[in-house]
Amino acid sequence: MNETHHLRRMTTIWVVLSVAADLLFWFLVGPHVPPGRMTDTAKANQFDFNVLFVIALPVLIGVWIYLAYAITVWSAKRGGPDPVGGESARTNRTAQVAWITITSVVVIFLAGFGTVALVADHGSGGGEGPNPVWSPAGAIQAETAALAGRGTWSPNSNQVLPVQVIGQQWKFTYRYPTFGGFESTQLILPVDTTIAFNVTSLDVIHSFWAYQLSVKADANPQINDVAYTKTTQTGQFTVRCSELCGIWHGSMYNYGNVVPQQKFLQWAQSTEAANAANTKNLPPFAWTYVPDANGASGGYYPDGTATPYSTVETYGAKQPAS
């Protein structure tokens, strides 16, 4: 068999299998790939995943075909011709240049594609930190207003809804600054609304992962980690902690709901009223809170003058020394 023969055979098998596999994947599996299409970020990230997969499949298939071919055709057991050593077997300029060029082009295309997707989709639902660089329209204004206590949200107004996510060992709680800053263990969101999640922590690092919304943002103490998404479908979603935070990390999950806008408004207003007695015990709404690092009655660091606490508002009163 001459040289082109081997390669032509492999290429033929590769093209047929790759095209078939890609088509099958794209049309049969693609639409069901997690995290689904509940938000615009989920949809965009699913599209990203599928594009990557369509590129990856031919790579996998190509190498597998080559390996399988080598194992069957070039096995010593088959007693084929003896291999030929020498310079021609050591280097092949065409093959090397082609390999490096193709991998470089693919890789640089992927990086560019990922960057475009990331920027176009306002950070793709990932935590952008306290100073987001890719914000949807109206988000900064809504957040600024919310912090000043002037935030509003009403149905069909196309306003961005800021929601604060507070991680603590071992539960997420949620504050709604546009509704008097009440805090709840429930996460209810209106549909067709851009949500600005403001994720922070009262102790160790957690990670807020709203799976079906395709939102993931680490919760760090004293950091406001902002992530955006726009809800497009109603339904239930899962929130899990995705950064190891101690003993109950595994059970640190809850279910949220995306509901019609009117229903959300009802829920928010009734919860605001029901929780009013407790809301006044909460500290004023802020993007981050300085938890007392010591915990109840005598903590890790010596108290008092040795460790001056920050002058920033603390979440909960300062703990007394033991």
Partner: protein, 219 residues
Amino acid sequence: MMSGTMKETNGYTSTPEEEEFELRAHIGSVWSGGRLFIGMYTFLLASLAFAYFYLRSSNNGLLWRPNHVTAPTAYGWTIFSLTVLASLMAIYGQWRFRKGGVVDWQVAGWTALFAAVLALVLQIWELTALSFFPGSSGYASTFIGYVVINIATLVVGAYWLETTLARSLRLRREIGGAKPELSAYATAQSFRANVAAMTYFWGFVGLSGLLFFAMFYLL
């Protein structure tokens, strides 16, 4: 090959060429090992510098450095001066050593060692004179980290100085008396390589000492 020309070492024989090869490899190892060690140390110190500047720019809870707390500057100046003295003495000694001044090198070396040990003692003692609690601020934390790393640096530097000096006392004959650079003894060559690497390290200690002194006491 004549067995008469071969040296027996550790149960096997070496030809003169092989000895020459191994000697060169050994001296090359001291040279490249000394540089690689400085490379490793640079990454260690860079991590500390990163921590310093990261916490400084984060200024979490406005607690990078409340009231601009500073470790006792008198200690800082003294330790810094002693470190630089040791560094300069090591470099000067090496310069004299190359010119054949073994005794000059030894005097400079013992001076450098004395300065290094004194700096070490003061660096440890400084911990008792701090006006802040380790966990009170970002500056306080990184300063404690710096003290620990600086103690390690001074211990390593002093150990290297001391062992080199102690060996020079035992190797007076081999390193060739007044003209060490002319000695072709394998020991002398090896010794010179070691002194060169050690001096290089002390130069590095002096420079990094300047940097961290500025970071912790002046800025």
